[in-house]
Structures are given as C-alpha cells and as structure tokens.
C-alpha cells in the first residue's frame, strides 16, 4: 500500500479523494448511486476519455497538443463529406476513415514539430488556428444534419429497465472508449514502443543517444493522439446527431486539465492510463454531484476550477511533508523538473 502511494502518488491520492466523494454523494443524495446515473455518467464522458488517453500519449512523450479537439471537428466534417460522396458507408468504413483522417492531422503536427525542431506547444497552437480557421472558412459555420443513418442511429450495448420503469443504458461510445483505453494501455505498458515513449519524454537527448528513433516517437505520439481525436469525433456525432463546426472548440483545455490532474506530467515521462481515467472521472463526478445536490449550474465551472487548483496544490504539498525525511532527494529532483 505504502509502495503504491510512493510510486503513484497522484493516482493513489486521487482515488482516495474520488472514493470519499462517491461515498459522500451516495450518502447525501439517493440519486447518485443508481444505475441510471452511473450509466449516464459513462455515456457523457466517453468522448472526453477517448481524447484524454490520446492526449496522455503525447504528454508522456514530452509534448503537448492543443489542436486535437479542433482536429476532431475537421475529421467530423471531412468524414461527413466522404460518406456522402461514397453514398453511405458503415461503421467499419467510418472508423477507418475517422482514424485515418485523425492520424493524418496528427502527422501534420508531428512533421512540423520534428521537421522544424519547434516545441509542440508552438506548432499545435499554430495548427489549432489553421485547422479551426480553415474549417470555419470552408464550412461558413454551417451545421450538417443530413448524415448517414448508421452514424446517427442509437446503438446500445447494455439496456436495463429498473422496477420503477426508468431505463438505464450504455451506448456505443462507451464500448469504443473501453477499446481505446485498453489499446492505449497496451501501447504504453506492453510494447517496447511504449517504454521508449516514456524514456523519450523523460529525457529526449538521453533517449536519442541510447538509440531511440526520435522521428518515430513523434509519429507514434501525435499519430495516436490524432487517431483518438478522430475516433472521439466520430462518436461525438453519434451522440450529438449533427456536425457543428465549432462545437468542440474549447474542449481541449478541459481535457488537458483532467489528464494533467490525473498525474501526467507536463514535460513528459510520467502518466498512466489509470490516472487519466481518474482525472476525467474527478471532473465528471464533481459536476454530476453538484448537479444532484441542486447547486446552480452557473457555479459548476467555478467549483471545478477551484477543486483543480486545490488538488494540484495539495498533491504537491502535503506529500512532501509526509515523506520529507525519507526522500528529500527524490523530492528535490521532482521539484526541479
């Protein structure tokens, strides 16, 4: 237990906080711990988590991606045009097209970052503006409602009617989310490529000298993030039933906050899928809990912001006091980065 706390301090702490929150909310409200609420929590946050694991890979590799949510919008729009062009399509084609378009946009980032040796925040802010501006310019801000049936049909992977007649169900996006989370976990935990990503993120020069292919790392990180962006975009349409060019604008910073809250370090080399899930869940459950407690929706963002601010302050502070005598060295090293 102690080891768990020392190896994954943020994740362990966050799960304790989450557990307390869930406990408190279950006691305070009789609506929180119901199947209906839990399934709707999952449905509503599936897309965010898909993006979050994509972003996680970039963060582990020491980069940052601001452009993924806008890239998802571009994927949605272009994919809709392609489906119209080929007269329909299907889920299989949908995933292929969305993933391919997403990877393509991710590779644009990777190419620019690696080609011109510019840090990722500069390039992704530039591509953010370029993608979004071009998308709005070409679409003139128009929505698309006329989408293929398979894309907007509700597909449920789990349905159940409670005795009181209310339905609880999980939609397709949850299944896709599970697949994406598992695939990301496998990529960063089970493959050599994953180990190299951590090494590269932690110390790029050291990794390069020990034979890691830098170019390959950028392709994997940004390609993966782009692919997740595309798949998330595809699922978002399934949920929203329409393509709105500027609907996803601004989501990137919320997802980034959740991922970093889950222990991924800006600067690379640290971060876990579990932490990522916990970070997204923390934001989701805070919001859901406030909703159930009957607090004005206008106050949600304020409280979530304050909660994140407190979380980052405490996650760095009290642990230092706790372990001060034991690993002052490690703490100093951590602070230096």
């Amino acid at each position: 237990m102690r080891d768990l706390f020392r190896t994954y301090p943020v994740e362990a702490r966050l799960s304790v906080v989450l557990f307390l929150m869930i406990l408190g909310l279950s006691l305070a409200t009789d609506t929180f711990l119901t199947l209906g609420n839990i399934t709707s929590l999952l449905n509503n946050n599936a897309v965010n988590l898909i993006w979050a694991v994509g972003l996680l890979v970039v963060l582990i590799a020491g980069g940052i991606d601001i452009s993924f949510a806008v890239a998802a919008s571009v994927v949605q729009y272009v994919a809709a045009q392609i489906f119209m062009g080929i007269g329909g399509g299907s889920w299989a084609i949908g995933f292929l097209v969305a993933a391919a378009l997403g990877i393509g946009l991710g590779l644009v980032n990777a190419l620019l970052i690696h080609g011109f040796r510019v840090i990722s925040i500069v390039i992704t802010i530039a591509t953010f503006n370029a993608f979004f501006g071009l998308l709005m310019f070409f679409t003139k801000g128009r929505n698309i409602y006329n989408l293929p049936d398979w894309w907007t049909d509700r597909i449920f992977i789990f349905e159940r009617q409670a005795p009181d007649g209310s339905w609880s169900e999980l939609n397709l996006s949850v299944a896709v989310m599970l697949a994406c989370v598992l695939a990301t976990w496998a990529l960063i935990r089970l493959t050599t490529l994953g180990r190299q990503l951590y090494a590269f993120g932690d110390n790029p020069e050291g990794a390069r000298r020990s034979g890691v292919n830098i170019w390959q790392m950028q392709i994997v990180a940004f390609g993966w993030c782009g692919m997740m962006a595309g798949i998330g975009g595809l699922m978002q349409v399934n949920i929203a039933q329409e393509v709105v060019p500027n609907a996803l604008y601004g989501r990137e910073l919320d997802v980034l906050a959740a991922v970093v809250l889950g222990g991924a370090r800006l600067g690379g080399g640290r971060g876990t899928v579990v932490g990522c899930i916990l970070g997204v869940m923390f934001v989701a459950i805070t919001q859901n809990g406030l909703n159930l407690l009957g607090i004005s929706p206008f106050a949600f963002q304020m409280i979530i912001g304050a909660a994140i601010l407190v979380a980052i302050s405490s996650s760095n502070l009290s642990f230092q006091l706790w372990n001060r005598s034991r690993d002052t060295e490690a703490r100093l090293k951590e602070n230096a980065t």
């Binding site: 011109f116 953010f128 503006n129 993608f131 970093v260 963002q301």
Partner: protein
C-alpha cells in the same frame, strides 16, 4: 560593426526580419486593394490592435519566465466585471469620475490578486504554470458566469467611451494605452532588478535561486503584474464593446501566445524582447485587416495567423541551417 549587427545589438535579432515581413505584408495588401493604405483603415487597425496587444503583454512576461498564463482572457473579463459592477453601483450611465477611478482600482486589484494566487501556487507548490493557470482559467470563467448568469453588463457613463473610441492628437486612446504599457514593459524588463530576475528565472530557475535571486517572490510578482495588465486590457475591452461579458475575447487566448512566439520569445523562457513582439502584433493585425478588406472573413485570418506562424518557424529553421553551414564553410 556592420549596420545589421548594430541594429541587432540595439533591437534584438528578431526585429529586422520582422520589419521586413511587416513591409512585405503592407506592400502586398496595398497592391491588392487601394483601401488598405488609407487613413480610415490604419485608424481602425490602431483601434483594434490594443486589446490583443495588452493581452499579449500579459502573456509575454510569464512566457519569459518559462511558464504560460492561460487565464489572461478571464482575468481581463473578471477585472472588467469589477469595473462594471462598481459603475452600476454608482448609477450606471450617471456614475461620476470618482466611481470610475474606484472601479479601475478595484479591477486592477482583482487582476493582481488572481495573478498573485497563481504565482504563489507556481512558486511555493512547484506545480506547472500551464496547469495552475488552466485551473485558474476554469475557475474565473465559472466565477464570471456565476456572477453574470452568462449575460452581459452594459450601461456605462459617456466618458468611458473615450477609452475605447476616443482619439488624442489623432492617435486612438487605446493605442496610446498600449504604447505606454509596451514602453513600461520594455523598461521593466530591461532596466529593473525585477526584469533581470525574470530573465534569469526563465533561463535557469535553479541557478538563479542559488545565485541569490528570490525566485519565489519573482514568480509571484510576474503573475501579479500579468494580472494587472490583464485588468487594463479588461477595462479597454469594456470601453470598446461598451459592455462586459464573460467570454469576450475568448478567441484571443492562443493568438497572444502566437504573437509572442512570432515575436521571437523563446518558448522555454529566458530570451525575448518587447519590440519584436509589438511588430509581430502589427503584422497580425495587418493580416487580419487586409484580408478583411479583400473580402475574406475573420476565420480565414485565424487560419492565416496559424499558417503564418508555421511559415515563420520554417524560415527561422532555414535561416539557422544556412548560418551554420556558412560558419562551417569559413
């Protein structure tokens, strides 16, 4: 010393290429449309640029210190809200100059306080500035939405209008505010002890701490000052739009970062000057106004801004390779 080297020594290596860029942009647009080089267009550019300019100055100092301040837009909004609230308390359109001064003081205090909190968390907790300012951004956005219920506050006295739309000796008042702020920024960074500390902290925070710079105090000051200039931007924004609304200027957030990088500020901190950033701002504004004049919409200029930054990065890279090859040759 050649002329080029002398200019580099005085104004920094980024200034000359950016001035050439600026000249090219002006030339291209004045060839494309006769409307570009007219007094009316230049005036409207001078009215539009200052808000982005002030916000960019707010972004500049944290980037110089190796951080980032993603909360600037909402710091400006909240400060504007403080001013608007004070004015409304004193009768809205009938409020006197005293109420305005009180409101401005309050706005600056709110900006400085929100900045100082971020600075304190960054300095004393050691959390990453991107994350801290992101949390502050979400918090302030929520606070603003909570206070205004998502609506806007308007109804200011006549004289507030002067701040946004007036001219002094032919120069737009917002432009005068921006120029003054830029000069103050330049002096602060180049001539004061604090400015020196900012560059040192940005270059190597560990080394500066060991060499006796109070890095924590410096960091708190950096973000507090960034908050103050946000407040000024918020006041100018309120005067320009004649209303305060949370979310005004949201789209400018990443453009300020873009302007800083375009102006040659090192993304890792420690290097950069105010003058090239100011020129970069004029370039961005010229691109936006010029495209608008030839009939493209605002979104195309957003795209062009992004593409322009990529092009500049590419050219810098080419320049670097060219120079290193020359050095190898001799």
């Amino acid at each position: 010393m050649s002329l080029r080297e002398r200019i580099h020594a005085v104004a920094g290596t980024e200034t000359l290429p950016l001035l050439i860029f600026l000249g090219l942009v002006f030339l291209a647009f004045s060839l494309a449309t006769p409307l570009f080089l007219t007094g009316a267009n230049l005036r409207s550019m001078a009215f539009q640029m200052p808000v982005l300019g002030l916000l960019t100055l707010a972004m500049l100092v944290p980037i110089l210190s190796g951080g980032l301040n993603l909360a600037i837009i909402y710091q400006a909004n909240i400060s504007g809200l403080a001013l608007a609230w004070t004015l409304i308390q004193f009768g809205g359109p009938d409020a006197g100059i005293g109420a305005f001064i009180l409101g401005v003081t309050l706005a600056v205090l709110v900006g400085a306080l929100s900045g100082a909190v971020m600075g304190a968390v960054v300095a004393y907790v050691g959390a990453h500035p991107i994350l801290v300012s992101l949390a502050m951004m979400i918090f302030l956005r929520g606070l603003g939405e909570f206070l205004t219920r998502g609506g806007d506050i308007s109804g200011f006295p006549e004289f507030v209008n002067i701040l946004g739309h007036g001219s002094l000796a032919g120069i737009p008042v917002p432009m005068i505010i921006f120029i003054l702020a830029a000069i103050v920024w330049h002096i602060m960074l180049k001539r004061t002890r604090h400015g020196f500390s900012v560059y040192m902290v940005g270059s190597n925070i560990k080394a500066s701490e060991y060499s006796g710079i109070h890095t924590r105090k410096t960091l708190v000051t950096i973000y507090a000052i960034s908050g103050v200039i946000c407040a000024i931007a918020g006041i100018v924004m309120a005067a320009r739009f004649n209303s305060v609304r949370v979310g005004h200027g949201e789209a400018l957030l990443l453009v300020t970062v873009l302007a800083c990088f375009l102006g040659g500020i090192d993304p890792f901190g420690g290097f950069g000057r105010v003058l090239p950033v100011a020129i970069a701002l004029i370039i961005l504004q010229a691109l936006s106004s010029g495209l608008n004049l030839i009939g493209a919409n605002q979104h195309l200029s957003t795209a062009v801004w992004g593409l322009f930054l990529i092009a500049v990065m590419a050219l810098r890279w080419v320049g670097l390779r060219w120079r290193s090859r020359q050095r190898k040759g001799t």
